[in-house]
Amino acid sequence: MRAGLSAELSRRSRVQLAALLKVQARLSLREPYGVGLGLGFPVVLLVLFGVISRHVPGNVGGSGLTVIDLYIPTIMVISFVAIAISLPNTLVRDREMGWLRRISTTPVHPSRLLAAQLILNLVLAAAAIVITIGGGTVIFGAPLSVNIPFFILSLVLAVAEIFSLGLVVVALAPTQTVASALGGVLFFALLFLSGLWVQPVQVGEPLRAIMWYSPVGAAVRALLYSVFNATPPVSALAALIVYAFVFAFVAVRYFRWE
């Protein structure tokens, strides 16, 4: 009897989540900030740096790597950042205009809406990874040799940390306008730190250390080692773990549903 009830509850819970996923997916396609940026960035950047790589000799900054080799982790991280930064746009608005509060009068807690959105963002992130790794190796001939366990570990930490940072913006921004402004500033700072304009291997200290230990630089570094079959530095993985915890803590501590 009790087992039947809990089975019924979990079945309903799945039905509710599926319905939210369907609606959020449709809305994401109608307001395609996340989809556009999350998939647009890897495609555009991959083509850009792939073409540059063909015209510039290898061994960038004495690293022994070509331009496309170095930029593959950067492009993945930038895609995650674009997806994470687009999250506040819709979620803060939904909160501001009372949609989350409206949901909270039903048997479904608005956290389910957030969960549905995060699942969709994970799908986008996975697509960005496939585009970048696939395009980088097949089209632009990057000689990757992925260390699967470390690659997965680095990806999980990078995505957790960067998505949590997006949720920090959701938690702290009172209105959609503030969220957009905050997200915009943060986005450009993170683009720089992830090595879009200049790779950490090309700059001197202390800028190189600042980049390597920044939230996105640490992710780029861990991914770079793991796609060339090396063990990422413990310091990079540790930085990712610390950032993930701090961002998640701040997001949870200050999160508001209304």
């Binding site: 319905a19 939210l20 609606v23 449709r26 949609w99 509060r101 409206r102 009068t105 039903t106 048997p107």
Partner: protein, 326 residues
């Protein structure tokens, strides 16, 4: 849902022993130093349309938000079908449908999608198509929320409150900003909810709305419950009424003014106009009959809820004002 276990409380002699489905007692809610709701008590019967009226900022919305479990009162108790909305929020939400003041849908969400989504949230929902049809927004099924008119948005908002097949619907300021025809249409929807046996709590600052729809109203003013009765009784007791008549022989004004409830006496030729509160006609006719005076050509104009509202909310500002009790 099992039948409520809470004791039945009668708040008026005229009411039969009905089943109270919502009981609010001594509700207090503060926001910082401001007391939004101060010791409000009332109960709502099954199938009743219960109005909550009062000036802006009186505490109406806070009261219903406490009932729907959106806010936690500072003190007092609330029971909805025997369940506490604060302790057992999840169960309350299954059978209480809420339409919030100032709550919008994502601009690109379509009407049909919103209804399907909300239907999926409940264990025993109504058919979304049927709900849209009954509210007259079936044609807008594929229209995005941002493209709807104010009246259509309001109907969709009500549809979302109803699609979960609630036993209780809480509707906050549902016709604010609508044109007269849209308001009438929405009133018809509420009447149909009554026919289906849904208990409705209606927050409004339109007295005609309360007078048309509500079985009883609670007047909340300055965070306190100021009156609780049928709209007609409140109107009669506090709204005042005006009587014009011709006495069979002249009666002097002092005698008339001394009759309980009489406030103003005016004379024009043979006819007399008396304004006052309470059961004015009975008091007047009885007093005059005792003096051997007959009343003819009697005309009466009952005060409406609007008059009562203005009188009660204005009187509350001055000390020593009478409270109308049910």
């Amino acid at each position: 849902m099992s039948s409520p276990m809470s004791p039945i409380r009668l708040s008026g002699a005229a009411r039969d022993a009905m089943t109270a489905v919502i009981e609010v007692s001594d509700l207090v809610k503060r926001y910082g130093a401001t007391v939004a709701v101060d010791g409000v008590s009332f109960s709502v019967d099954e199938g009743e349309i219960f109005g909550i009226i009062g000036p802006n900022g009186a505490g109406k919305t806070t009261t219903v938000e406490c009932i729907s479990g959106l806010r936690v009162p500072d003190s007092g108790s609330i029971s909805v079908h025997g369940i506490s909305p604060q302790r057992d929020r999840d169960r309350i939400r299954e059978f209480v449908g809420v339409q919030l003041q100032e709550s919008a849908l994502p601009p690109r969400l379509r009407v049909g999608e919103a209804l399907e989504l909300f239907a999926s949230f409940y264990s025993n929902p109504l058919d979304p198509q049927g709900v849209l049809e009954s509210l007259g927004v079936k044609d807008s099924e594929r229209v995005a929320f941002r493209k709807l008119s104010g009246g259509q948005k309001q109907r969709v908002s009500i549809a979302l409150a109803l699609v979960g097949n609630p036993k209780i619907a809480i509707l906050d300021e549902l016709t604010t900003g609508l044109d007269p025809e849209a308001r009438r249409n929405i009133w018809a929807v509420i009447e149909r909810m009554r026919e289906r046996g849904v208990t409705v709590i209606l927050v409004t600052h339109f007295m005609d709305e309360a007078e048309t729809l509500c079985d009883r109203v609670a007047l909340i003013n300055r965070a306190r419950l100021q009156a609780l009765d049928t709209p007609q009784a409140i109107a009669a007791q506090a709204g005042g009424s005006t009587l014009r008549f011709v006495p069979s022989r002249p009666v002097d004004e002092k005698t008339l003014s001394a009759i309980p409830g009489v406030q103003v006496v005016e004379r024009k030729d043979r006819s007399v106009t008396v304004t006052g509160t309470g059961d004015l006609a009975a008091a007047l006719i009885n007093a005059l009959a005792a003096m051997g005076v007959q009343v003819s050509e009697l005309e009466a104009r009952r005060g409406n809820l609007d008059d009562a509202f203005i009188r009660l909310t204005r009187d509350a500002a001055s000390p020593g004002s009478e409270e109308v009790q049910a």
